[in-house]
């Protein structure tokens, strides 16, 4: 019962944050509501037993990435967005039919009652840092090293792109 209460309260908080991201005109308000979404998603991860993922969700996403976003918004002094016209034509021709398709998928998932809809066991913390590390440094060692190279390239690319050209 407690799991349901936690799931629905934090799920509603995440959805409210996502909707608020759409409604707000100022980018800094959107960034703060995205932080709310990420924080409530970390609680959902904890409910699924993924404690390591929940921790790095808070540290990396809600911490590092969103601080970067807020920093850039303040650096560029981004103001209220101005709307001219009715938005892009692509959005009206392709985007909203795609949204409709996602809505149909949602309704189908809600209406479906089959054996795949079995409960997720909660509380057993099998996503601990020890188990993750054992997986990460044995079978997934090569992808892990490749991502470290990727991050290095991304750091250099960010420095090169953001540098002021003389």
């Amino acid at each position: 019962m407690l799991h349901y209460i936690l799931f629905f309260s934090f799920g509603a908080l995440a959805v409210a944050g996502a909707v608020n991201l759409l409604i707000q005109k100022h980018p800094i308000s959107s960034a703060l509501s995205l932080i709310v979404v990420m924080g409530s998603l970390s609680v959902e991860y904890l409910l699924l037993g993924a404690e390591f993922v929940a921790a790095i969700q808070v540290i990396v996403y809600a911490g590092a990435v969103m601080v970067l976003f807020v920093f850039v918004i303040m650096l560029l002094n981004a103001g209220v967005e101005e709307h001219e016209g009715r938005g892009s034509r692509m959005a009206w021709t392709f985007g909203f039919p795609a949204m409709l398709g996602l809505g149909i998928l949602l309704a189908w998932l809600l209406a479906r009652r089959d054996p795949a809809n079995v409960p997720v066991p909660v509380g057993a913390m099998y996503g601990s840092a020890k188990l993750i590390a054992r997986q990460l440094f044995q079978p997934y060692l090569l992808p892990f090293e490749i991502t470290s190279v990727l991050v290095l390239i991304a750091i250099m690319g960010a420095v090169v792109l953001a540098r002021r050209e003389e």
Partner: protein, 100 residues
């Protein structure tokens, strides 16, 4: 004991909000944040399926998605700074030329 379908529905709702923000918003930073929201929705489905099938690979993939998202945020924000420096605007409707 929350069923798997509920997590998937939450993921679909968050992903749809991200798609809507990507299409409707005109500020380049907000569009970028919508992409992050979509990545988060995908991460939620990864973790839900990992818990459902009792395999840890889903959480490893979430780890990799987070690494790629962090790298993408760094490079993307650098590009946004470069765009703002040359165009003096963050509105994507005004950024319609490859070369000035």
């Amino acid at each position: 004991m929350v069923p798997l379908g509920y997590y998937l529905v939450l993921g679909v709702i968050l992903f749809a909000c991200g798609v809507a923000g990507f299409l409707v918003k005109r500020n380049i930073i907000t569009i970028f944040m919508s992409i992050e929201l979509m990545l988060n929705a995908v991460n939620l489905t990864f973790v839900a399926f990992a818990a459902h099938w009792h395999v840890l690979s889903g959480q490893i993939f979430v780890f990799f998605v987070m690494v790629v998202a962090a790298a993408e945020a760094a490079v993307g924000l650098a590009i946004i700074i470069a765009v703002f420096r040359t165009r003096e605007t963050l509105n994507v409707d005004r950024v319609n030329l490859l070369k000035l």
